[in-house]
Symmetry: C2
Subunit: 387 residues, 2 copies
Amino acid sequence: MSAEQQYLMLPGPTPVPASVLRALATPMVNHRGPEFKALLEEVTEGVKGVYKTRNQVVIFPAAGTGAMEAAVVNFISPGERVLAVSIGVFGDRFASIAERFGARVERLSFPWGQAADAEAVRERLQADRRHEIRAILVTHNETSTGVVNDIRAIRAAAADHPALFMVDAVSGLGAMDLQTDAWQLDVVVSGSQKAFMLPPGLAFVAVSSRAMEASRACTNPRYYWDLQSALNYLGKGQTPYTPALSLYYGLRESLRLIDAEGIDGVIARHARYRSMVRAGVKAMGLQLLASDEVASAALTAVVAPPGLGANRIRKALRDRFDVVVAGGQQALDDVIFRIGHLGYVRDLDLLAVLAALEMVLAGLGQEVKLGAGVTAAQRVLMNEEGR
Amino acid sequence: MSAEQQYLMLPGPTPVPASVLRALATPMVNHRGPEFKALLEEVTEGVKGVYKTRNQVVIFPAAGTGAMEAAVVNFISPGERVLAVSIGVFGDRFASIAERFGARVERLSFPWGQAADAEAVRERLQADRRHEIRAILVTHNETSTGVVNDIRAIRAAAADHPALFMVDAVSGLGAMDLQTDAWQLDVVVSGSQKAFMLPPGLAFVAVSSRAMEASRACTNPRYYWDLQSALNYLGKGQTPYTPALSLYYGLRESLRLIDAEGIDGVIARHARYRSMVRAGVKAMGLQLLASDEVASAALTAVVAPPGLGANRIRKALRDRFDVVVAGGQQALDDVIFRIGHLGYVRDLDLLAVLAALEMVLAGLGQEVKLGAGVTAAQRVLMNEEGR
């Protein structure tokens, strides 16, 4: 079967709705003209809605990692102390970028598969009586483990410590609640290829006025990622250099879809996916990496049964049923596989994928009752609908 | 009329062929899977063909300015001396990026509308007996003035000076000859929204092994733009972070179109556009900013008649005929307008645009013989075809 018919169950890139794909094919316009100005202003407002913010939002032509780099180089100067809270690969990446640009990074790491402990953050920040820590880096949804951090609690733990609170919400924004303004998040980065239901290539940065104030003193050099320059141009309906126009067209359409459903409806839908997939996988007798309390609504990390490598399961899913799931990263390679349920996914897709997983496990000699996982997920779905 | 029906005569974004627009709408695949590996390898080879190089080529999800920043941060350390040859806005931008990242930039600037003098470059480099200059920055096609530099002659003038030779070919590559290997160009950057006939959002960097060797000693911090990391991932058919997949699909299609025509056919076509537009504009009695010897094949900068602002002409072209041309930048604002003829343009489009310009000028009270410009361009076209 061709790649066009795959079940793409990744934590990004995620499936793109047909109307968004069609929007990508819109002809070009002048990026210094009135059509683009209207488009830029419309999508910027729409992205703010997803962020639940009135802060400024800048859109870069970049991958999500670019927005993480922008967060570092605009706000953290070489030699400054940074507290990097990490629960996996992407928490480590945020810390690594800060280190690369000269920050003195102190890592507060938690075991993979667990969430960050807000109390530990509180203790560390309370011990920082001289306020040497200038920024706190936290991951919203940790894509490598399928764990979501309680950003609200961690932000509350930071209390009135003056460090900038910076959140990597690349894979979590839109899939799980994140309230930029209500929770007082200074810098929140995200990307297009996750809950925004777009192809990769746009990166978003929401920034508080307090953070922009702090950026003036930041000595890290920046040109492409210069937020002040981007905001200056945004004020006249432009970007400092050529924007990724096609993806803006797609973004306009995907924001319309999100708006029609309502952002809280989108978040509820992802919560339902989480319940369905977890119930289904548990009913097959498989272990989940994350406990229910901290489980991501964007993806589910499944531990392969003893003696059966996760990559063998992935290969069978792909070869037999064109179901594409992600593998484990670094120490979790071949230990877990990750089912993405993020963005443009349908309930029945999840039932189909669970059915495929049952057949693959049975084919690999596991004791699995065919239909057990599907039925468990169906029950979740029917209960939800009964509400 | 809707924006979809515009004559988009800009030096970028340029019109995108329908088959490329359709390719953008291809569904997503796993960027860590076999389909993307094959795609990445195919388009990287294709881009090398346009560059006329066997050097390594890296594709970033970024605007062309990002590739310029990548050229700076991978090869130029803070405090190092750089010779920036500038003939306009984009030459200045390359110099500014190098300055922003700590280089001691010496500008060798030439009046706007003129090309760089290779002899002046030779003299400056010969005077640098201690080889303190570590990099030479040169613009191929200067988009702000419609002037093309003789890269071959300037490179020859640098002779055996060990400085890295770095070329901003964002708007020129594919429209005018550029021989990366034959001319021994160390670093050549380009972008998707010009002669590649794609939307903006991909940036290219071709890099010699000598330059990659030098990059190991470069102390500028880099993460997103790290070429060594990109090359390591490229070796296994991947990218360090999520690639802009849709634009890769488009690139595969646009490379097929370029391959069908042949890169030298594409370049000859652009040379014909230059001749047609210049002949047409001259026949209307207008002045051109650049002389014939240094005129760009990608765009033509036209000086507005005395007493008639260039922006008034632009507005009339747009309002009456949906012809979108670019204005002048900085000191040339309202002095010139720039007709892009780059990428997916047809001969008859140029005749139509010249006809519109005649009517607009007449409407604004200029003495213009209707049909004079069109006829002059027709003659060029017929002569070319007679060959």
